[in-house]
């Protein structure tokens, strides 16, 4: 096509497209998928891990899920190093808000603020866009539980359930079929695991290939972000029939 309009992000092609932004979205289409589902009593985020070496220190680092503030977390899909920069930016923005207002930053405002940063890289500076899509999950007193998806263009939307990364179209249509408005958090976990298992390339799903995190309210009313441990995740995968239980050794 018009390759001469590829080199600068800050110009339109004659057809009115921003190629670098589109290429960024292509890059994300090859990355590990992530799914988010909004339920009445929480938000569920599930991610497919691409790096699955036994040598990886899973207890201390996560690949897909990150906590932005006490009341907001996100799942990433795309270039990890780009994601790290944006996650740090989001964390600073959240703290800056709390410093000024002594209140947690409303989730949509945080997403909007980060997306404004992303948009800047599509308009000026001559720098390439970030090759990351996010799924933000959080709670605030204005709108309760919320799920937002954002992409390299700086666009974002509020969703009941969304998918990013590899096979996100297939995942999204599966979610559209099975999602119901009054879904509970437990049902949402089940749905997310089911959909992810169908869209992932690997033949067998084990807990070391996935990450699962939930954002919910404790009985005391505080927002909690919890990453599922590998053991509980394995049990859940068996419970929902996504993996076969380990064979009994005779």
């Amino acid at each position: 096509m018009s390759r001469r309009y590829d080199s600068r992000t800050t110009i339109f092609s004659p057809e009115g497209r921003l190629y670098q932004v589109e290429y960024a979205m292509e890059a994300i289409g090859n990355a590990g998928s992530a799914i988010g589902i909004l339920s009445k009593d929480g938000v569920v985020l599930v991610g497919e891990k691409k790096v699955t070496s036994k040598l990886l220190q899973t207890s201390t680092s996560t690949e897909k899920m990150y906590k932005i503030d006490d009341h907001v977390a996100c799942a990433v899909a795309g270039i990890m190093s780009d994601a790290n920069i944006l996650i740090n930016t989001a964390r600073v923005q959240a703290q800056r808000y709390t410093f000024a207002y002594q209140e947690p930053m409303p989730v949509e405002q945080l997403v909007q603020s980060l997306c404004d940063t992303k948009q800047g890289y599509t308009q000026f500076g001559g720098l390439r866009p970030f090759g990351v899509s996010f799924l933000f999950a959080g709670w605030d007193k204005n709108y309760g539980f919320q799920l937002y998806m954002s992409d390299p263009s700086g666009n974002y939307g509020g969703w009941k359930s969304a998918a990013v990364g590899a096979n996100n179209q297939a995942a999204q249509s599966m979610l559209k079929q099975d999602y119901k408005d009054d879904i509970t958090r437990e049902e949402a976990v089940q749905l997310a695991l089911k959909v992810l298992s169908k869209t992932m390339d690997s033949t067998s799903l084990t807990s070391d290939k996935l990450e699962l995190a939930e954002v919910f309210l404790t009985p005391g009313g505080k927002v909690k972000y919890q990453v599922c441990s590998p053991d509980s995740l394995s049990k859940l995968l068996v419970k929902y029939g996504v993996t076969q239980p380990a064979a009994e050794t005779s």
Binding site: F99, A100, Y101, Q102, E103, P106, Q109, K141, N142
Partner: protein, 205 residues
């Protein structure tokens, strides 16, 4: 000398301010409204250097409006008070705003509240507060007569007691006061207490 004071009652907050604009020994006007309506459910009463007073309170008011336009939701009184304090604090070590502020508001979830902010960026959430020479009298009267959960009538009685003390005991007492109230129905002017009326026509020959 400027007098500003306020208190929290049962489901409402009240702010009272004198209404004289003074320059050295000259009284420019005695109907200057020093209590600004910050948004539908917040009031801000300011005393101090007159240029700073208007400039700073308008700046805060416009920022509060901007937040609401941008985000579709209003700031809580606590958030607005903390934001204001932050602005005072940032300017403090450069070019301080010589303004003392009482911010009163009503939030649906938390009810009425009153915040004390002085010109060196102190912030306190309080039930009653006062600034200026009149504070010596107003605070003493409130210490004696205030109790939490007062009705509007009881609160206005206490306000009038404070005004009487200020008028009778302060050597250069301001003659007129404005009283504003904020409750679940919003922020509005409640009453004036005038002893000197601004003249609009020259005296008849």
């Amino acid at each position: 000398m400027e007098c500003v004071f306020g208190l929290v009652g049962n489901g409402f907050s009240i702010l009272v301010a004198d209404t004289s604009a003074v320059h050295s020994i000259l009284v420019h006007k005695s109907n200057e409204d020093k209590i600004m309506v910050l948004d539908s459910h917040k009031l801000i009463a300011a005393s101090g250097e007159s240029g700073d007073r208007v400039q700073f309170t308008e700046f805060i008011q416009k920022n509060v409006s901007l937040y609401q336009f941008r985000n579709g939701i209003p700031l809580t009184t606590a958030a607005a008070a903390n934001f204001t304090r932050g602005e005072l604090a940032t300017a403090l070590r450069k070019s301080p705003y010589m303004v003392n502020i009482l911010m009163a508001g009503f939030d649906k979830e938390t009810g009425p509240s009153l915040y004390y902010l002085d010109y060196i960026a102190t912030l306190h959430k309080v039930d009653k507060a006062a600034f200026g020479y009149g504070s010596y009298f107003a605070l003493s009267m409130m210490d004696r007569h205030f109790h939490s959960g007062m009705s509007v009538e009881e609160a206005i009685e206490l306000v009038d007691k404070c005004i009487i003390e200020i008028r009778s005991r302060l050597v250069v007492a301001p003659p007129n006061f404005v009283i504003k109230i904020v409750d679940k129905d919003g922020a509005r002017e409640h009453a004036w207490r005038e002893t000197v009326k601004e003249t609009t026509a020259p005296p008849s020959a």
